[in-house]
Amino acid sequence: MTQTATAVPVSGRSREGIAQRLAADLRDGFVVNLGVGIPLLIPKFIPADVEVILHAENGVLGMGPLAASGQEDPDLTDAGKQPITLITGAAIVDSATSFAIVRGGHLDVTVLGALQVSGSGDLANWYVPGKNPAVGGAMDLVAGAREVWVTMEHVDRTGSPKIVPECAFPLTGRAVVTRIYTDLAVFRFDDGQLRLTECAPGVTPEAVRERTAAPYIEDL
């Protein structure tokens, strides 16, 4: 594993910058589920001419922005229990139908954070052993969505790569990730092969290589 302590410091995209970069890849008509963290920063960067339907696990199709202060309705929340609004044309379903949407392949994309992603697309994002285990809908989302896009910092707080040959943390799903958007780069999986397709502005392929533990093909 690369020792990043000796690597030259690199400054890539901010968390908002990662969200903005991913938002540029959303296509008109996509049905998308957004996880907590960086994914929740994405809606404000979706281009005005791109209509995206946001799904929440608790049965909302067509989420709008968070409710304004004083306008909260306890009967209308997102999957993080935050009070939300609906867009015109939104629909409400029960939890079984909500996950029929998820598992049945009716979501174009789910965007999730990650502890680690492996070189074969395994995702670990639900549980740090020793901490409090909770899974929510993460395993259903990665099993069912047509594409699983991960947003995360390229390395963890200790500087260790998060794109690794094998995940050390318990898996959320095997070979499920299709794209990775980090502060330094964009990766795609094609036929199970990890490819570096883009470096963030001001970031060199060498800087990415020094901070990525899993093997990949450069396809810039």
């Binding site: 907590v36 963290g37 929440a56 696990e57 608790n58 049965g59 909302v60 909260e72 309705d73 306890p74 009967d75 209308l76 929340t77 999957a79 993080g80 229990k81 935050q82 009070p83 409400i92 379903v93 029960d94 939890s95 079984a96 909500s98 996950f99 998820v102 598992r103 954070g113 549980y127 409090n132 285990p133 909770a134 899974v135 929510g136 809908g137 993460a138 395993m139 259903d140 099993a143 069912g144 318990p170 898996l171 959320t172 799903g173 095997r174």
Partner: protein, 249 residues
């Protein structure tokens, strides 16, 4: 004449014994049947196995059952409450942790006469491989793991066998209900409520508004009264604010 309305929650819920398995609707505090849960506490029921998506962010709802030591096991996807984990790791309550969609489908299947089904969710993870601790001993060692799921390949993908859940009782909340037990939910407070109601052998529904039979149009009924045994009035309208904050980032 069919009249499922009961005015006295304590008298109605008295049939639920300690030790029962109880499916509960709600997602966080949204659509959670607090009147019925509080009644279980006031009846001093204990040793309960509760099937519910969340164990609150505070000591209301399922959090109250926990705080008062009334839970034996929780089947859930996102327990959240830190005190719940204290009880879990201390060996005082068991946790059957299952993916949220699997929980919803297990309730639906149980209520629909489907004994088991295969799903891709969780295949190849520690929630399916028999290594996740169901419960601990008081000395901190693992007392038992959740059972290993049967894995089976369909179309080149791994799936796991999950069993339908039939609960002894179900507690749910609706926006409107009539004396035949027909229910209508409101916005995302619907969530697990219709599924928990289906899974209960005997289902109690608390409603914010009891309406005259016929006022709910047939096309507007989300859950027909055939799934509901007793209808009670919610003691108050929904809490003003959702109480659970996002925990993961």
């Amino acid at each position: 004449m069919i009249d499922k309305f009961r005015s006295d929650p304590a008298a109605a819920l008295a049939v639920i014994p300690s030790g029962a398995t109880v499916a509960v609707g709600g997602f966080g505090s949204s659509g959670r049947p607090d009147t019925l849960i509080d009644t279980l506490c006031e009846l001093d029921r204990r040793d309960l196995h509760v099937v519910v998506n969340n164990v609150g962010g505070d000591f209301t709802g399922i959090g109250r059952l926990l705080a008062e030591g009334r839970l034996r096991r929780v089947t859930s996807s996102f327990p959240v409450l830190p005190d719940f984990y204290d009880e879990y790791f201390a060996g005082r309550v068991e946790l059957e942790l299952i993916p949220q969609g699997t929980l919803a489908e297990r309730l639906r299947a149980g209520g629909a006469g489907i004994p088991a089904f295969y799903t891709p969710s969780g295949a190849g993870t520690m929630l399916a491989d028999g290594t996740f601790p169901l419960g601990y001993r008081t000395d901190g060692s693992i007392a038992a793991n959740m059972p290993e799921r049967e894995h089976r390949d369909f179309g080149g993908r791994e799936h796991v066998l999950e069993y339908g859940i039939i609960a002894d009782f179900a507690l749910v909340k609706a926006h409107k209900g009539d004396r035949r037990g027909n229910l209508r939910f409101r916005l995302s407070a619907r969530n697990f409520n219709p599924l928990a109601a289906m899974a209960g052998r005997h289902t109690f529904a608390e409603v914010e508004h009891l309406v005259a039979t016929g006022e709910l149009e047939p096309d507007d009924i989300h859950l027909p009264g055939v799934f509901v045994d007793e209808v009670l009035l919610a003691s108050e309208l929904s809490p003003k604010q959702p109480t659970i904050a996002r925990l993961r980032s």
